[in-house]
Symmetry: C2
Subunit: 199 residues, 2 copies
């Protein structure tokens, strides 16, 4: 598979969530450019989510392809110089049809320069989950972890829907297979499991 940011650019139409007065808002937005490990977007100043981004630059992105591969990424956006506009129109010719002539004056450009994310691949027989980071952010630990408090009773292993738990003196979770459902966490008789931790 291509890298996760290239994946989003190739899917092009992704869902971008913002916050508006403590309420979530989400809409489909096209990824206009993937360059220097950053994602670039266009936005019209008159759209409600322009105001949302000015008030709170945090976004969360998700997209899934036809093979049920999902990429999620989040971070803070930055508005960038409108010199990017022409390039984005060149690389996305349909934009000349949607905003003909001078009407593109209402558009501004922003980018996601860094962030953390997750690839969740349901196209294989067993789900595969992997976290990533870009732009200098750190890859976070998986969602659930078994600590030294484990008494190796095996209850967690029996409760796992995907067989993601391996035996041992201290049991361990194969994070790439973990659905992060929390069954092991709830069933553990010794509070030996920590989580959930978001990426």
């Amino acid at each position: 598979m291509e890298g996760p940011l290239e994946f989003l650019r190739n899917i092009k139409s992704v869902a971008i969530a913002t916050v508006d007065n403590n309420r979530p808002e989400v809409r489909i937005v096209d990824v206009m450019l993937h360059e220097d490990d950053k994602l670039y977007f266009l936005i019209a100043r008159g759209k409600p989510y322009y105001k949302q981004l000015k008030a709170n630059p945090e976004i969360s992105i998700v997209a899934m392809d036809d093979n049920y591969v999902t990429v999620r990424v989040k971070g803070k956006i930055e508005f960038v110089d409108n010199s990017f506009l022409d390039k984005m129109f060149d690389e996305n010719p349909v934009m000349n049809h949607i905003y003909p002539g001078d009407t593109r004056e209402i558009l501004e450009a922003f980018c996601l320069p860094k962030g953390t994310g997750e690839v969740f691949n349901l196209s294989t027989n067993t789900p595969k989950r992997e976290r990533f980071a870009f732009g200098g952010e750190t890859v976070s630990e998986p969602g659930y972890r078994i600590t030294d408090k484990c008494i190796a009773c095996g209850i967690c292993k029996d409760s796992c829907p995907t067989g993601a738990i391996n035996e041992g003196d201290v049991y361990s979770i194969e994070s790439s297979l973990c659905l992060e459902c929390g069954n092991c966490y709830e069933k553990c008789p010794n509070d030996a499991i920590e989580g959930p931790f978001e990426f």
Copy 2:
């Protein structure tokens, strides 16, 4: 086209946004059921967005089909009795594979009983936008409106990328064609345009 809620059930994998401590979070979730004008979902108690929904039940949903028809809807979810679980597994047999046997005990059911939304159809030659509501909510007015302060100068009409503005003693916006970009709003010399208003 089928109704917008049926559209979401047919697409099945939709993006659901929530708020976590004033930050947006979005992920792909399957619509498990569309019944009595409500949308039903499953959630594992161990997922971070379970906590998010318990703290703030507001969600925003978006999905787009292969023809670039987009449906957005938002409202407050309600957790429902787990008697819905068996029905949802029956209607979505793949769930028996993902959560085999007793592992489904970690799941809970919730529904979106009412909300407001928008259909945005980019599959036609000219974009078509239409708002809707369900469960007793009221359909809101379009995003931008021209008021009586209009002096019929025509500047707004020239600035509109989609030709959505009609002439008249007071000009008017054909909301189904409006991109809600805000160009008319910015260019109007007499502050005669109001907006943007979200659905």
